[in-house]
Subunit: 397 residues, 2 copies
């Protein structure tokens, strides 16, 4: 095995903060075996009770979308939820895998049928996250097919090496002590988050090419960095890498239109390019895209909350992903290159109890990138004061 | 994908008799993706509600045996049993995968630690089988690593082709209508089984090189071919290929000693060679082997029933596996080349209700081959009459 997988695995179990005696649930795709095995080894060495690797096979999903009876496409076996809910009840650890293995596997399928099968995403995931019952992280897994997608001009070996190099850099694995490097970066992000919270904005306004959007915020909303604690006080980093500060907005007060600035890859692998969404009264009332618009519309129609915002996140230009200029076709990476919003489930833990009922609820959570160097983000207070927040990717507060 | 996987997949869904609306649970090992995907496609085309593929990764198991804390090695996450029990409650379909993917993956591990982790085997599997609640089958999956183990003298491509050819033959895929060919073979096996049942033997005696064994039978025991019905009357072939007739013996009346005639591969991949077992009063009191004897001893010590017989099976010389002379290092194939016995769980469905309580109960079921051309099998009735059953591999009854 490539020794780098072991180094990446060490960062993953550090970020998930795997504890002795925990079950560690891994969610790789078939093709990510090397990292799964390296993480299993690292987790057992930290004292894990059991490492439960549930491989997802997108080719089996393809067979379903292509051939299953129409009325079965929403079905999810009850033991899928049982696993996730039990992990939450036990207070176990979870490590998700980002990155692409088979970019073309779902090509040519009926987008409406595709949109009905949300797997590997489970609607119970939102509750487990909201409950803060598991310590978890998501890490990217290098793969030659991913590298080919990201660097189409390079030969396959060079592309794979470049993917490793860029991920190595953004994961801060090129630092003498990656854990300490992340601690330092998180301190900066937590300061930005605190500054934003202290401004008590009523809404944020985004203005840039193809975008003129106002996002209402909740009165007790807090801005956070991806540096979490479980309800039992266990620190973990839900995303590695992370460069964002984020909060959960008022789902009834988004107005205007927005154009995505990077492609968005849905959980099922469909790549949505050139997404344009218009909001009225918090709802996405028009959704179109240059590519895979129907698949995206199907997600937005998933449930009551799927057409409303659950997240708004700001990314400055000092993170390590944006400066690369690389489109990774993967939300974990791309969302940390640019400011973004997410349709679907919000974060009750980002507001006080009095606003918890106002946070958006949905079985989906789909981030898409709206930030760019031209984007100006302005905060507006309840009294109407307008305060610049991000200009040219630099914090103004 | 090699088109032959699609042909094999068709036989698998035929043998499991997948019904419209059923969940179909597949149990491949990582490395058997092509067959898993082909079966998924075939099952969806037959109207399956969902195909649930649970890949087992033996390299993750290796990490566990190598690094996990001693006191965690028996742990199985509760959602593993939940999946299997729920499949049974729902009356779903199951397709297991035989064949080897990584023959050396567990080499060099502590056999005592290895023996404590039974996965991917679950103790709940016995109950699901006994309840006849699911329609199921097991089919072999060709793999280059398996071919290399079976034909070490051939170059890798030739070995893989030879494995395909031999499996193609024993799976009767070389017949114009494989389903019909199996129907015909099963008719022969069911006749042999009926003849044996009608003899009402009190015990069988096995005599051959290294073996002098008496296996007591239960008064209402029936001999069966691997041609099953679920409790709801759904036909299925639990093993493809199959050449055996079998029953469940009296677990208190095995006496003598027996030497295995082919290697036995444990569920975790350890190959047990030269196994010798001595029985007293039905119990295996001495277990030794030329290779992996400790792993085998650990299985035999698993629970109260694991040292007693749950199955005795006879294989004539007219099946397609024995004549090849090939050792496949896989129980599904090798057990159908020769008469065999199994330690562990028995089959309540092979006796009348009055004897059901006498059938052996265990969380394990481990077949090992004892038949050979030199083996003479004699039936002894309650009145002491001795009737030849198998001589030189030919039925005498």
């Amino acid at each position: 095995m490539d020794e780098r997988f072991h180094t990446l695995a060490e960062l993953a179990v550090h970020g998930a903060n795997v504890q002795p005696g925990q079950v560690v649930a891994l969610g790789p795709t078939v093709g990510q075996e090397e990292l799964a095995r390296a993480i299993a080894e690292a987790a057992y060495k930290r004292g894990a009770r059991f490492v439960d690797v549930a491989y997802f096979d997108p080719y089996v999903k393809r067979a379903r979308i292509a051939y299953a009876n129409e009325d079965t496409l929403d079905f999810v076996p009850p033991w899928y939820a049982n696993r996730l809910v039990t992990l939450g009840e036990r207070g176990d650890a979870r490590i998700g895998f980002a990155g692409i293995v088979a970019p073309d596997v779902l090509n040519g399928l009926d987008p409406a049928r595709l949109g009905r099968d949300m797997l590997p995403w489970l609607k119970e995931a939102s509750k487990v996250i909201d409950d803060r019952s598991t310590n978890w992280t998501i890490v990217p897994c290098p793969h030659p097919a991913w590298a080919k997608l990201v660097y189409p001009g390079l030969d396959p070996d060079a592309a794979y090496e470049k993917l490793w190099q860029e991920l190595w850099h953004v994961l801060r694995l090129d630092e003498p002590d990656p854990g300490a490097a992340w601690e330092q970066r998180m301190a900066t992000l937590k300061t930005s988050a605190k500054n934003l919270t202290d401004c008590h904005f009523d809404r944020l306004e985004f203005k840039g090419p193809g975008t003129e959007l106002a996002v209402g915020l909740l009165p007790t909303g807090r801005w956070l960095a991806a540096d979490f604690e479980t309800r039992n006080g266990l620190w973990h980093m839900p995303n590695i890498p992370t460069e964002e500060v984020f909060t959960t907005p008022d789902p009834t007060r988004t107005e205007g239109y927005v154009t995505s600035t990077k492609p968005l890859v849905l959980k099922d692998g469909a790549i949505v390019r050139g997404l344009k969404v218009r909001f009225e009264g918090g709802r996405a009332v028009e959704v179109e895209a240059e590519e895979n618009g129907v698949a995206m519309q199907s997600k937005v129609a998933y449930d009551d909350g799927s057409a409303r915002l659950g997240e708004v996140a700001l990314v400055d230009r000092h993170g390590r992903i944006g400066p690369l200029g690389t489109v990774f076709y993967d939300t974990l990476l791309d969302e940390n290159a640019a400011s973004h919003i997410a349709l679907g489930n919000g974060f009750p833990f980002a507001v006080e109890a009095e606003d918890a009922e106002r946070v958006n609820v949905s079985g989906i959570h789909i981030d898409f990138m709206i930030g760019s160097p031209e984007m100006v983000v302005t905060g507006v207070t309840a009294s109407g004061e307008r305060i610049p927040v991000l200009v040219g990717g630099d914090w103004q507060i």
